[in-house]
Amino acid sequence: MENNKMKNLASTLETIVKVVGSIFFAVSIVCGVMAVLVAIFGEKMFAEGELSLSLGFVKLYATDALEVKTGFMNAYVIVGLVTVMIICVAVYLASKLTRSVLEPIKDGRPFEAQVPKKLKKLAWVVLGCGALIQVAGIVESVLLSYAYSLKEIVNPLYISKVEFDYSVDFSFVLVFAIIMFLSYIFSYGQKLQQESDETL
């Protein structure tokens, strides 16, 4: 049964995924190098340079009078860079898995044995990556809150209390469940395909 639309779409997607994967791999290397540089020169850089703090759509530029704990600031940037690096590597891995899923689809055989296996691996990568992003987000927020004395920045006449609100987004679990579910569908499809191939 010919399905040229599926083949063409899979072929186009494979090319896009290949390019995206290569970009993310390059970004991961850049982030790794930057993390090492920040670990070496970070404290000096934060002590001398201009500091700014983003609060949603508002960006506050600090004067020299504002005391910033450079150690925490340094750790915050390193954690951020390492997280981005790990996520970029994960995206690169996910792109490789996606390509191996798209390859048989491109050839017009979507129910090959490798497809459900690779989809399962992809689901676990999504779960791990999603969890890492959430944990890293919380760690970064904690480090940033230690780096700045936020109570000193805000005017006590207008602001009575400063509280930190850490929220966790669990939507990655839903994506994990959907990909896992897809892998089971493809696994069932593969059995049907095998039965069909063995019927003469």
């Binding site: 039965e195 063995e198 019927t199 003469l200």
Partner: protein
């Protein structure tokens, strides 16, 4: 599987080669070889009908149930 294909026996009775039968049935001799050697999990009625027609036999002559 307890269902065994006895195509080789019927073919020998009729003195028909694999290539000849494949041509008459209209399937590739590779696929007919799979049927002959039992390397299939199912057979279509249309294929069975064509084989029976070519060999002049009943489906029961080709299929055998063994416990």
């Amino acid at each position: 599987m307890p269902i065994i294909l006895r195509l080789d026996r019927v073919m020998a009775d009729r003195k028909m080669s694999l290539n000849e039968l494949a041509e008459k049935v209209g399937v590739a001799n590779v696929n007919l070889s799979k049927i002959k050697n039992g390397h299939i999990s199912a057979i279509r009625f249309s294929t069975l009908e064509a084989i029976c027609k070519a060999l002049g036999c009943q489906p029961g002559d080709i299929l055998e149930y063994k416990e």
